[in-house]
Symmetry: C2
Subunit: 385 residues, 2 copies
């Protein structure tokens, strides 16, 4: 293929359709940039911008204050010992699994773990043992079953799993498990515990030590108002020398990070948003109140909220028989809901879904949430006239 | 530590000092954003922006045209079969090493390979055998020694290396090795060859198949006018099913990519810059002419350009006895050069270096290069009056 103008003209600047929509996609609500982050993007956009003053270790750069951020602010924020920036939650999880496990070892995952946890284990050539949940409608992870899973691994292989993980909250129902209890169980078998906080770090207060977790993982683009791909990884000092082991040939370079990770604007957006991110986690109670209020509004329309009830997180899963019913006869079929919402400048419920969908109320605000709820009612009324 | 305002005020938006300087740091010249990329950054800055229309496979997103870019344009651009976006050159290299090698296998690297190639091998738990170079002043990789290295691995382990790699150009001297010859040697032992084009893909024409390489790696933030971290990985079809193998549990997810990689603005900046990047590779002869012209200017002042001569790349390494001599008596000692250049709005020669340094002339343009050369002369004159 010749890369002539007819091909090249397809690229260049491309507009983002839903940029100014009210976005209730759980992937999007916590990653929206702050004004400072938007300015930082432009300022630091060029290639390897942050490397201008690098002496060989990205996270020790003093100007801009990456060292202060990574080695003081983030450990305090996460209540953990050692922190590094990664490319995202999955990359953090892989780094831990790959460092802590030997090929063929086991890792224990909650059944509701994000696909990327399974795939990270597969990439690290580890086996997975899952901890079940209670099924519909609550989908509660069976906390005590971490013991069963660990014992099964020991009896099958003669060796404890290399690691256990809990997804906090899980990415489907937004349930928050009793992590302290899970960590007590894991630690009684000397199994370290990783918290996947992709949907919590940057939204709600997370105290790794207080919860008893050895590793804590966050997603910058999902929950820390940062431009992707970027994530954080917090590690208890007991394991820092394992996960952040240095190269025998290039003494200052950390092997598991391939020397460095977020060598561009991404880390500067995380730093730019950090003050506001810290403050919003302190406002978490209001976010939970918004979620509950919105959930009640939707339940009044006949939708059913699954998962923890009352709910403790902005990520919620709904069963919507009323929309499913409409889709059976609507002209646009199962696409009617997406199109109706789009017409109202609301984005985030995947095109084609009507019966089951998830959404997030995080940082949407009562006014917009009210508008979204009213729009739902309007759509129901329009088709059920 | 309490995250109070006295701490938080250190973060937020931070200005980038050298933003408007003439930057001749080899890390920076090829990563400077195009105007379209700068607009794309702002448009797509939010968190997971590109995921708004993702059906589960990032590189198959149709709108924005990521699929067209990754599966049509980039394979044509690189002259290879299958392409994926990664977080950078090192992440591409690790993905290939980790997929192609089993723990304990060997990989053959040129001795001048970037540290991240060694660290990627260490992360993949592979052993490294190096191919020597000729030493000062040319630092030419001994192409024929790829055969020796491979034979040594075979005689020591009874097994051919899993992979060989050539750095094209190397990141210190900007030398371009005879890749076709290396690939003939490697293939005669059935060893696949990876081209590390961190400093070539996006600067000069690269034709993977024509050169006979099985894997080609590029760095978006270094050489493709993209906001970091981002890279490309091209794979010959023979190996695509190995490197891009899919998860047994999550059928559409590629294990080695952990499902997806550049899930944010980074990929949109690469797409935005692509037309201009294609065009600039077609203008490579002029870039080489600029490099030679600048090198000659500096040699006239008593500096000595190491590596290939005449030079074939914008990345050049200089020995500068004249600056070293000045540093012995200058008031600011070895920092004098950095400070003098800074006063002239020139950035990119690392603070403290005087005797040896590298620089890049890429996209700097004759006018600015002229100004930089004149500044060098001015500084020499000032201290040698
Ligand atoms: C629970 C959960 N964990 C992890 C991830 C992945 O986050 P990242 O993109 O930072 O790897 C997701 C993404 O949807 C998620 O829902
Ligand atoms: C020759 C060479 N290869 C690879 C890299 C790493 O590039 P990336 O940041 O994309 O991993 C560098 C960085 O300086 C380099 O000089």
């Amino acid at each position: 293929m010749e890369l002539d103008d007819s091909i090249l003209n397809k690229f260049g600047f491309i507009a983002r359709g839903p940029k100014d929509a009210i976005n209730i996609d759980p992937l999007q609500t916590g990653g929206k940039l702050t004004e400072d982050a938007r300015r930082a993007l432009v300022e630091w956009g060029d290639g390897y911008s942050v490397c201008d003053f690098c002496g060989g270790i990205l996270d020790l750069i003093k100007k801009p204050p990456i060292e202060e951020f990574v080695h003081n602010a983030l450990p305090a924020f996460l209540d953990t010992d050692a922190v590094r920036i990664t490319h995202g939650a999955r990359e953090s999880k892989f780094a831990v699994m790959h460092s802590m496990g030997q090929e063929g070892d086991y890792v224990v995952l909650d059944e509701l773990a994000h696909y990327s946890s399974f795939v990270a284990a597969q990439r690290a050539r580890l086996n997975v043992k899952t901890v079940p949940h209670s099924g519909s409608p609550e989908y509660k992870t069976d906390v005590e079953a971490y013991a069963t899973a660990i014992e099964e691994v020991i009896s099958e292989t003669g060796k404890a799993p290399a690691l256990a993980q809990v997804t906090y909250p899980d990415g489907s129902y937004g349930n928050l498990a009793d992590v302290k209890r899970i960590s007590d169980i894991c630690h009684s078998y000397d199994v370290p515990l990783m918290l996947n906080g992709a949907y919590s770090v940057g939204r709600m207060p997370i105290h790794a030590k207080k919860m008893g977790v050895d590793f804590v993982v966050g997603s910058g683009h999902k929950s820390m108002a940062s431009s992707g791909p970027i994530g954080v990884l917090g590690v208890k000092e007991d394991y820092a020398d394992i996960v952040f082991r240095k190269s025998p040939t290039h003494k200052v370079k950390e092997i598991e990070l391939l020397g460095c990770t977020a060598r561009g604007a991404t880390v500067m957006t995380m730093i730019a948003s950090f003050p506001e991110v810290v403050r919003r986690t302190q406002n978490w109670d209001n976010e939970v109140a918004d979620a509950r209020w919105f959930s009640a509004k939707l339940e009044d329309m006949g939708l059913i909220q699954m998962g923890d009830k009352p709910h403790n997180h902005d990520l919620m899963f709904f069963e919507a028989p009323v929309f499913y019913e409409i889709s059976q006869t609507a002209k646009k079929g199962r696409y009617f809901l997406y199109k109706e919402l789009k017409q109202r400048n609301i984005h985030g419920i995947k095109s084609g879904l009507t019966k089951y969908f998830k959404l997030s109320t995080f940082q949407v605000g009562r006014e917009n949430l009210s508008y979204v709820a009213d729009s739902f009612q309007e759509i129901i009324d329009k088709y059920q006239k």
